[in-house]
């Protein structure tokens, strides 16, 4: 399969054949093929995409969390961007799961670079990556007791007493 043969349709087709029923849906916002997959299979799919001789999605560009509180049962999500540097195709994988069970398998078994990206996602969204070698907070202080990018937390800490709003009308 040469680069010109790889279309978005062929990626979806081969993935559906390899993982029947696991590609829940797909769309192409701004020309970037995005697949929704179940969390149990997301790492298998990423691993297969990386190792497949035709596709070679050998580069994990980005990994981040998202929070949609109004999507009941699917509140939290992890977004993976992988890139086939050989064929210059980018691919986005989304996986959503309930906020009361924020557990996803780790991608560090496939890409070493996922380590800090997953620590960052854990830090800000409280998503736990099973199998991660060192899942600790990374940017926030260690004794913080909440995950600040979740939508229920306001921008400013409401419990602060050191700010005098009297003159500046914050």
């Amino acid at each position: 399969m040469t680069a010109t043969d790889i279309t978005h349709e062929s990626i979806v087709e081969r993935l559906s054949a390899q993982f029947p029923g696991k590609i829940l849906s797909h769309d192409e916002p701004f020309g970037l093929l995005s697949l929704n997959v179940p969390r149990e299979d997301v790492i298998d799919i990423i691993k297969w995409l990386k190792e497949d001789a035709a596709f070679q999605f050998i580069f994990l560009t980005d990994l981040c969390g998202v929070h949609f509180p109004e999507q009941s049962g699917q509140e939290l999500g992890v977004i993976y961007h992988v890139h086939s540097l050989v064929h210059n195709i980018r691919l986005r994988l989304r996986t959503f799961f309930p906020a009361n069970d924020p557990v996803v398998p780790t991608a560090t078994t496939v890409f070493k670079g996922a380590n800090w990206m997953e620590r960052e996602t854990f830090d800000f969204f409280g998503i736990r990556f099973t199998g991660h070698p060192d899942l600790r907070r990374i940017l926030n202080v260690d004794d913080m007791d909440y995950h600040p990018l979740l939508k229920q937390y306001p921008l400013e800490d409401g419990t602060r007493t050191d700010k005098d709003d009297k003159y500046f009308g914050r």
Partner: protein, 404 residues
């Protein structure tokens, strides 16, 4: 390395290592980085990087700011080349809005982004010089950075954190004064940079100090998510400007320099060559701009492009648009967009989710040095402490971008 291996295995178990706290504020690390190192004499047995000392919650802040107020946040990521961050963010928004910018805007942006790349690489390479003991080159080339900052100042009024440009273009055209300053820089800088290169690149002391230090294989570099000059020094020619051209980079001729071993010396050489390529790109863009009529410096998107100030004071329509944009009254289309630009130290990506509100629903910055800095403890394992300092400065880790 040698002393570690020659120690008999029995003795090694009884050996006590020293714990060395390198940082958070250490004059040799050029920024707020903490590394807790286990030392065997002068050799590093293992290291652990602690980051987050200047974390400013940019992603949370961005969820509460209209698009224009996100631009100053991007300034403070990689502050050595903030125009690239600004323009990268504007390009992301333009992708979401479907704005097509005129060619003149693209070429103006290319000039600014390449000037920013030159200053970024200039700082990194001259700091590598400082860490090997050559302070002169650093002070010498900083005058040239000053000239670039004067160009920024002429264009947008600020120097380090530039907040340059607008969604759709620029706030004003490049006038003759700007073009004269760019011309002056293009004429003067090559001589200075040649001299700087002559001081270091074939200098025996510098070569002995940098070759084979802090190397990484291309497989490891890929697995760790390296991008930019660090990945290219390891031998893979991935450059966003070529792979996914933005801002009309496809109109320019340039080559992507690659190294072989990914060590400090290769990174130094790749950055040097990229500076020459950037200069060539600026020359081409300069010629293209000179052949163009002035005037078309923004795209026709009144909903997002802030109108000129004199129009705001005299024209009703401009006043209305100004008010709507500043107060965030303009609806943003829903969408999910990822856009990447080649930043000073790698692929700088913006992952933006818009729910149609006035501010981003979610904005994630793919910060290149956050991703590749995690390889640092592995890269310095077994090396000497002074080499670890050198490895860090040659990786171009910028604290602002690391901690976002």
């Amino acid at each position: 390395m040698d002393t570690l291996q020659t120690t008999p295995p029995g003795l090694q178990e009884e050996k006590q290592y020293n714990t060395l706290n390198l940082g958070p504020t250490h004059p040799a690390t050029h920024g707020i980085f903490q590394n807790v190192l286990q030392m065997d004499g002068e050799y590093i047995v293992s290291g652990e990087a602690t980051i987050g000392y200047i974390h400013r919650a940019f992603e949370k802040l961005a969820e509460h700011r209209p698009f224009y107020q996100v631009t100053p946040i991007t300034d403070r990521l990689n502050y050595c080349s903030s125009p690239i961050n600004n323009i990268g963010w504007h390009l992301t928004v333009e992708k979401l809005l479907g704005v097509k910018t005129p060619k003149r805007v693209d070429y103006m942006r290319v000039i600014i982004m390449e000037l920013a790349r030159i200053t970024d690489h200039l700082i990194c390479n001259s700091v590598v010089g400082v860490d090997t003991g050559a302070l002169t080159g650093f002070v010498y080339v900083f005058q040239q950075r000053e000239h670039v900052y004067e160009i920024y100042e002429e264009i947008c009024g600020s120097r380090l954190t530039t907040n340059i440009g607008r969604i759709g273009g620029f706030e004003r055209d490049f006038d003759d004064k700007v073009m004269r300053k760019i011309r002056k820089f293009l004429d003067e800088f090559p001589k200075v940079w040649k001299e700087f290169e002559g001081l270091l690149s074939r200098n025996r002391i510098f070569m002995d100090r940098t070759i084979g230090v802090g190397g990484i294989s291309v497989e490891d570099a890929l697995s760790y998510g390296f991008t930019g000059p660090n990945l290219r020094a390891a031998g893979l020619d991935y450059d966003v400007r070529v792979m996914n051209p933005y801002s009309s980079y496809e109109d320019f001729d340039f080559i992507i320099p690659v190294g072989q071993s990914g060590d400090v010396y290769d990174r130094f050489c790749v950055r040097n060559e990229e500076i020459w390529q950037s200069l060539s790109i600026i020359e081409q863009a300069y010629a293209k701009l000179m052949a163009m009529p002035q005037g078309e410096y923004f795209a026709p998107v009144p909903e997002f492009y802030l109108p000129p100030k004199q129009d705001v004071y005299t024209k009703m329509e401009a006043l209305i648009w100004h008010f709507k944009i500043v107060m965030g009254e303009v609806d943003i289309p829903k969408g999910e967009v990822y856009h990447a630009v080649e930043g000073g130290n790698g692929e700088l990506g913006f992952y933006l989710i818009s729910d149609g509100g006035r501010q981003p629903y979610r904005l994630h910055f793919r910060r290149p040095c956050f991703i590749y800095y995690q390889a640092f403890p592995e890269m310095i394992k077994g090396s000497m402490l002074s080499d670890a300092i050198l490895t860090m400065s040659s990786m171009n880790v910028i604290a602002g971008e690391l901690d976002a």
